[in-house]
């Protein structure tokens, strides 16, 4: 079975860059990834890319070169980057190609995301009456979760404070000023119990990754990071996801649980072996819930892990070491790839001020998006 390695990574700083289109940010990331791999665009044989608000991702061939390759656009909400990587990996793993690229970029207007009901197969009245707001789902889900697992709401502010602390160490992050848990808790309420600074904001940014067959990776880099597995899942009947006008009485595990379990099983690596993890933190409560849903800890254990510092960069389970969506913002097409970019940096030992000590071997990523999609990867040196 063909193995796959990530041999080149590139990023455009996240946040707000006036005067630079989303696609141009993607092109910067693509060129950086190609340079990192020591190749030209003409050596990329296949690409998967996604952008929610900056035009079709494949329009970037106008900037990079019209080489006639298979370039498929990916549209999977906030999970787009993870889906793109899953496809770029499979293109090589299947034996179809030797070198592929996964790319994502976006440039969102300020304010909350404003998806249209029709995009998700919903009737117009759903948006007319004010339910087409992603923050509501996260508010309801964490409100219920804190209740079910007896979790102190204090963790919501603690996780957000960690995000901004880590963002301060990340030159590519948007929000680079530490904020105290008190200031976070006191910020305006967005969707109870989540306040403004507990939520990510739509933003801008671009990431590109060059993948290659593992047995030729040495041609591109002396520090390949291997994709041990990828898994992408959508929602099953009975789950609780964004934009759900109703729920079934019998609830079942969501796509995060399914995708994470599938990724760990396919990799032959367990969550207990993970040295660094980047998991979806659309809001700080999402990081808390996803810690358990991915299997990194048990439901309810989060409080002790967070309070004890285990999820800090120097802890036993570093989570969202680059500041996550909270500190980087959320350019939908790019975020899932940013997570993988960060894990590759960490595994290469290039984390700089935010390097996880001890030479991390295994990185895990988890991304989640509307209308109930999750994509996970297991990476290792």
């Amino acid at each position: 079975m063909t193995e796959v390695a990530i041999v080149g990574i590139g990023i455009h700083p996240f946040g707000r860059t006036d005067g630079v289109s989303g696609r141009d940010q993607g092109a910067v990331a693509a060129r950086a990834a190609l340079a990192d791999a020591g190749i030209g665009w003409d050596q990329v044989q296949c690409a998967f890319g996604g952008s929610d608000a900056a035009g079709n991702a494949d329009a970037i061939v106008n900037d990079l070169g019209l080489t006639g390759i298979e370039f498929v656009n990916v549209v999977n909400g906030c999970a787009t980057g993870g889906s793109a990587l899953t496809m770029a990996d499979r293109a090589i793993r299947s034996g179809a190609y030797d070198v592929s690229m996964a790319i994502g970029f976006d440039k969102h207007p300020p304010g909350a995301f404003n998806a249209s009901p029709a995009q998700y197969g919903l009737d117009e009245w759903y948006g007319d009456i004010g339910l087409m707001v992603t923050t509501q789902f996260f508010g309801v889900k964490i409100q219920r979760y804190l209740h079910d697992h007896d979790i102190d709401p204090e963790v919501l502010a603690l996780v957000a404070a960690k995000a901004f602390r880590n963002g301060a160490l990340n030159p590519n992050a948007w929000r680079r000023t530490p904020l105290s848990p008190e200031a976070i808790a006191a910020s305006p309420m967005v969707s109870y119990p989540l306040t403004k600074y507990m939520f990510c904001s739509p933003a801008e940014g671009g990431v590109a990754l060059v993948l290659a067959r593992a047995d030729i990776a040495h041609r591109f880099t002396d520090r390949p990071v291997y994709v041990r597995s990828t898994a992408m899942r959508s929602r099953r009947y009975g789950t609780f996801e964004v934009f759900s006008p109703s729920l079934a009485p019998e609830r079942t595990d969501g796509p995060t649980v399914q995708a994470a379990a599938a990724a760990f099983e396919a990799a032959g690596i367990g969550p207990e072996d993970v040295d660094v993890a980047q998991i979806q933190d659309t809001e700080s409560g999402a990081e808390v819930m996803h810690m358990a849903e991915t299997g990194l800890c048990k439901h309810g254990e989060q409080v002790d892990l967070i309070r004890s510092g285990a999820t800090e960069i120097g802890g036993s389970l570093p989570i969202n070491t680059d500041g996550g969506c909270l500190a980087n913002g959320e350019p939908i097409g790019a975020s899932g790839l940013r997570q993988i970019y960060e894990n590759v940096l960490q595994l290469r030992g290039d984390g700089g001020d935010r390097q996880v000590p001890g030479g991390p071997l295994v990185g895990f990523t988890h991304v989640y998006g509307a209308p109930g999609i999750s994509a996970c990867t297991v990476l290792s040196r």
């Binding site: 909350a112 404003n114 009737d123 339910l131 309801v140």
Partner: protein, 157 residues
């Protein structure tokens, strides 16, 4: 915010085509129920997303239930939200378990999270959402805490 149970004011627009039926005397939400597997969903649709069958019936849903989970929307949603430009008051959003058949998402007639709790009895109401400018009144469905409801809701419960 006035809670109007069974009246759609003259000239008002009912939001939710086919979602609310039984006006004026017995308003209720309508979902669909699968004949093959029994799954109930809201709003009504032509197929079953549990078993793929297309053998579904429209099903009137219970008008009372219990609150499963909630939040309070703290900022005005953007257009096409009908009150996007009106003076904003926070509104509850949550899921109400209707008789164990299905949990429906709804606006909640409550803006203070302290007034809401998991397991709270809730009753279907019609909520007017007035649009500034044109002055058109838009009415949609919502749920109100039973213990906070006024005499008019007891009359029609």
């Amino acid at each position: 915010m006035n809670v109007v149970l069974s009246h759609v004011p003259p000239g008002a627009r009912l939001l939710g085509d086919g979602v609310i039926e039984g006006l004026p005397d017995a308003p209720h939400l309508v979902g669909s129920a699968c004949r093959a597997c029994g799954a109930v969903t809201f709003p009504a649709q032509g197929s079953c997303n549990r078993c793929t069958a297309t053998d579904v019936d429209r099903r009137p849903l219970a008008t009372t239930g219990t609150l499963w989970g909630f939040t309070v929307q703290g900022f005005p949603p953007k257009e096409p939200y009908v009150q996007a430009h009106a003076p904003f008051t926070p509104f509850g959003v949550g899921y109400v378990d209707l008789g164990g058949e299905v949990l429906v998402e709804a606006r909640l007639v409550a803006g203070d999270p302290e007034s809401l709790r998991i397991g709270q009895p809730m009753a279907l109401v019609l909520e007017p959402l007035t649009v500034d400018g044109t002055g058109e009144v838009v009415v949609t469905y919502a749920f109100a805490p039973v213990d906070a409801a006024g005499p008019s809701s007891e009359e029609h419960a």
